[in-house]
Structure formats: structure tokens, C-alpha cells
Symmetry: C2
Subunit: 334 residues, 2 copies
């Protein structure tokens, strides 16, 4: 099965779509794409500092979508906002693993309690809304086998992973009990335009891209042999649109994923794509080592078989497009 651009356009044209975390990295890329597809988009974002929401991410699209500043923990706002929507892309979240260890309460509030608010709003005011929830590879913890498929044991090794696991289970439970059509995607490292690059809160790749543009040396933890898989944000947006448009995805959990690459090779590729720069190996900081998961890459054959999704943007192309975007707009991301 494959979903053509025409299929996506037919699925979303004229549809009402709510995106929580819609001023953030993935949410804003999704919002822009949905506007281009002819959807009526409402973006909800709290613009909490450090969380990735950035109104510049919606530049040139602000007249073509509805922007609603609100915290998803606010039950009454959510009760209102879900009504009349055809789709909910639920991306709001706190994503920093290290922040989650420093302040577990905030992570719990945002990644679990707020998710219950959203689901209660849907249960009570609009149980037929189509929900896509973005979970994370972090729910698997330290892999016991590679590549990691969806049946790998769930054993998160940090607070953020525990809370995202609970949020994912809540979504599936509300789907099962109250008939809300829910799908879950477990994302791996996502990169591309509009991510947070000020620090490593969203992913280390953002930090590396900024460092290389600013002429700083990229610092790779450990021996750099740890494997990761990466997805360019356009591929992730594709997966979200495809999964939400197909009934076969209801009640399902899918990994995304890509080609494994070692961190040291990734650093080299970033230097190559930038045609300038350097990297160095440094020892793991202890607070990172404690929650490091070693190598990870995902098996995404389930979503490929069921929905026809696979990543299309090469790492080289994705890095070049990202670097080009940040070179032009870096002042908006510092």
C-alpha cells in the first residue's frame, strides 16, 4: 500500500485539524504542510520557554491558520478546542531527558497529566476525533536486541521515558475503552528545519548543527561508536499524515526509523555537509552516562508493510537542507 500526494490532499483538504505543540519543531512543519494541503489548521502551543515552541516556525503561515496560545494542561481550553475538529495531532510535550531528571514533576505534568486532560476532553466532548500521538523510542530503554521492533520490551531508563510510556498507554486505553480512533508513532531522532538548536534539549543533532554553523567543534560523547537512526522531519510529517488518514492504523503502534549510523560518522557527515568544521571525542558527562542507552536503531517494517511508509530523504540531503535553513535564520533560534 502506498499513499500518494493526491491521496493526502484528498484526505485533508477542507478538514479541521488541531495540532498541540504546533509551534514546536515537528508540529510547525506538520502545520505548514497541512495548510498547503488545504486543511483548516488550529495550532495550540503554550510557548513555555525551553520547550521548542517558536512563533517564527509559523512565519508566512500565520494568516492561514488559527493560533491559540494555551497550555494543554488546561482542561477547559482543551474541552473547547477539540470540539468540531476532524483530526488531532497530539505533539505537545517536554522532550528533554536531562530536564526530566532534574524536575520530574514538570515532566509528569506535561507528559502525563496534560495528556489525560486532552484525552478526557476528547472522551467527553468529541470521542470520534481522529488522534495521532507521537511517542518515542525512549519507551524501549536500553535495547536488548537490534533493530528494535514494536514487540521489544518496554523498559524506559529515564523519567521522560517512563512518562511517555504512560502517555502512550493512556492513548491506547482511551481508544480501546471509549472508541476514540487513536494511532501512536514511536519517533526516533528527528532533525530538520525549525528544531531547537540552542541546546541539546530536543536532540543532540540540533546542538551539533548550531555548533558547526558557528564554527565551534562538535563534541561527541564516549568513543562515538554508538549507533542511532535519524529521520528528516518531512519524512516524519509524511508518516503522521499517512497514519492518520488510514483506518488500518487505528489502535496501532508503529516505530519510525532509518539507516543506523554511528555518532562519529554522523559528526563527519555534518562536517562534510557544511564543507567546513571539526569534531572531537570527549568522555560522557556522568548525568548523561547514567541514562545513556548505548546503540539504538529501529525496525520500521510494520509501518512499511501496513501503511507503505518509509523514509525518503537521504541523510546528506537532509543535513544540507537543515544547514541551509539555519544559516539563513540562525538569529531566530538563539
Amino acid at each position: 500500500m502506498t499513499v500518494s500526494p493526491e491521496d493526502l490532499s484528498a484526505a485533508y483538504r477542507g478538514q479541521k485539524v488541531l495540532i498541540t505543540g504546533g509551534a514546536g519543531f515537528i508540529g510547525s512543519n506538520l502545520a505548514r504542510r497541512l495548510v498547503d494541503l488545504g486543511a483548516f489548521v488550529t495550532v495550540v502551543d503554550s510557548l513555555i520557554p525551553d520547550y521548542g515552541g517558536n512563533l517564527f516556525n509559523l512565519s508566512k503561515y500565520q494568516d492561514r491558520l488559527q493560533l491559540n496560545i494555551a497550555d494543554v494542561r488546561d482542561q477547559y481550553s482543551m474541552n473547547y478546542l477539540v470540539q468540531g475538529q476532524n483530526y488531532l495531532f497530539n505533539l505537545a510535550g517536554q522532550v528533554s531527558h536531562t530536564d526530566s531528571m532534574q524536575n520530574p514533576y514538570t515532566d509528569l505534568e506535561i507528559n502525563v497529566r496534560a495528556q489525560v486532560s486532552i484525552l478526557e476532553a476528547c472522551r467527553n466532548y468529541h470521542p470520534s476525533i481522529r488522534i495521532l500521538f507521537t511517542s518515542t523510542r525512549q519507551v524501549y530503554g536500553k535495547p536488548v536486541r537490534l533493530p528494535v521492533d514494536e514487540n521489544h520490551p518496554i523498559d524506559p531508563v529515564d523519567v521522560n521515558g517512563i512518562n511517555k510510556t504512560a502517555a502512550e498507554k493512556y492513548h491506547l486505553l482511551y481508544g480501546h475503552l471509549y472508541g476514540i480512533p487513536v494511532s501512536v508513532l514511536r519517533l526516533t531522532n528527528v532533525y530538520g528545519p525549525r528544531m531547537r538548536i540552542m541546546d541539546a534539549r530536543q536532540t543532540f543533532i540540533g546542538l551539533w548543527l548550531r555548533q558547526i554553523i558557528q564554527g565551534q567543534t562538535i563534541r561527541v560523547f564516549g568513543d562515538g561508536q554508538q549507533l542511532r537512526d535519524l529521520n528528516y522531519v518531512d519524512d516524519v510529517v509524511d508518516a503522521m499524515l499517512v497514519a492518520s488518514s488510514l483506518p488500518a492504523a487505528v489502535g496501532q503502534v508503529y516505530n519510525l526509523g532509518g539507516e543506523p549510523i554511528s555518532l562519529i560518522d554522523l559528526a563527519k557527515q555534518i562536517v562534510d555537509a557544511n564543507e567546513n568544521g571539526s569534531y572531537e571525542l570527549i568522555p560522557f558527562p556522568p548525568e548523561r552516562k547514567a541514562i545513556d542507552i548505548g546503540s539504538y536503531y529501529g525496525n520500521y517494517s510494520k509501518i512499511y508493510s501496513a501503511l507503505g511508509w518509509e523514509p525518503k530523504v537521504s541523510l546528506k540531503m537532509g543535513l544540507e537542507q537543515s544547514l541551509s535553513y539555519y544559516r539563513k535564520n540562525i538569529s531566530r533560534y538563539l
Copy 2:
């Protein structure tokens, strides 16, 4: 390995022990036992209506232990209370599955946020405290194989199960990251003196015991063929004392469990033990059916092999002792 009564006495005599949820069913039985073993016991309980805390459970022991009424969500109280303790038996919780579906926020507050409070208190004020956390078979959800061992997939099917899963993971994570010596027991259906019998919030067995004593017909949902395993509370207290006293249990998760019995046979045994009474089969109420897990019984060979624990009290003996207790004290449990 077996742990003799003398070993337990040596382990706990003169030790300072904090029990959260200590006026509840299992907590109060544990508190009484620890006082008898010569420990200095502090009971923390919020006495929130419907949660099982009942000061009558501590009758005749109130002069021999410290009673501290407080909500475990209260960070400052917990920061103070954990200091100077050798052991923490962390039993505070909301246990009703149906309540958790009606009000997911409260379940989340009590079963997750409060647990983070407790763990943060230990992390910041007393990281060497020995913690035993009581989890539940509910983390497994609907069994995919029987008996259920600790490697069975974790897939809770109700809000309570999701939250208890998160709480258990938090305990293990804090143990791993901050060196707090933590053990987890996954309890199955526990029954005996001092449980809640007013309704089925704690377990259906409490309700059945009250009904049979009051001359009402026990109502068994469905065809009554669902299997369960039961532990008498004294056996559970034994498991907690043994696990907390042995270094081999640090960082470990153990199932408790017992002989499987069908619900209809259990109803018959209760009628027999009471020497009077009746039961009937009725269809599942829809809100129960939605979260029913079919048959469950646990494999407890891990704790038997590692710590020498196995249940000792026969169902017949346990039911007789329970009925005798409630006949005498029923007014205190209505």
C-alpha cells in the same frame, strides 16, 4: 534460602520503619507485625475516605507506634518523615480500578505524583533508606500466558494499571540512578483481616466476605470460570519483611502468587467456610467487562528460588480467620 522468625526478629528489632498507607489493609497488618518484632514503627496515612485507611486497624497498637496523619503528596512532610528511618514500606495508593477510570486525575496524583514525592524525599534527604514498593499484577494487563512470570509483557488495561506501572518504574529508576536500595513486589489478590469490605474498591473478596456475613447472596460476574490466585495477608507481610531484609532483593521485582482457583469455586469455599450462605452468577456490568482481564494467576518461583518465600496459609484457614475477624468487628468496617 529460608528466613526464620529469628532472622526477621534480628533484622527488624530496634530498627526505625516508616510505612506509608500504614492504616490501610496490608499496611496495618505489617505495622502490627513489625511492632511485635520490636521495630520502631511510624505509620503515615492520609485517611482519605474510600482509600482503606481505618484507625481501628491499629487498635491496641496505637501506643506502641507513631501515627502521623499526612498525605504522601505533601513533599515537605515526606522530606521530614523519611529522615532517620532504616526502612520504608511504601504502600500508599489508590487501588480501585473503577474509580481510576472515573477520575484518572486522582489516581495519577496518588499513584504517580505522590510516589515521585516520596522518591524525591529519599533521593534528597536519605538515599540509603531501604525501600519496598508494593506494585500489582495489574501491570501485566490481560495475560497472554499463564502462569504469569515477571518477564510477561507489561500491558496494563486500566488507568490504575498504567499509573502503578509508572510508579514501579520510578522506584527502579531511582534505585538505579541514585543508589537507593529498592525492591518491588507485584501483589495479586490479597485478603484477610483489616481489609475494606464496604465495597469492592480494594478487591471483590472484601465485598463477598461482607455479603456472606450479612446474609446476602454473593454475586459472581460472568460464568465464574475466571481463575485468580489469592494470598492471605500474613503471607504477604512475610514476603515484604523477607524481601526488605535480604540484600539479594535490591533492584529486583518479584511476583507473589498462590494456587489458582475459579471465582465460582472461591464463592463455594466462602459459603463453606461460613457454613451458610449462597451465590449466584450475574452478567458482567459493562464498566467492569471493559477492563476485565480474564484469568490470571502468577508464577512466584522467582521469589521462592531467590528468597525462599512461598504462601503458607491455606485458603480454608485464611477464609475462616477472615470471617471470624469480620463477624466480631463488622461495625468497624461499614
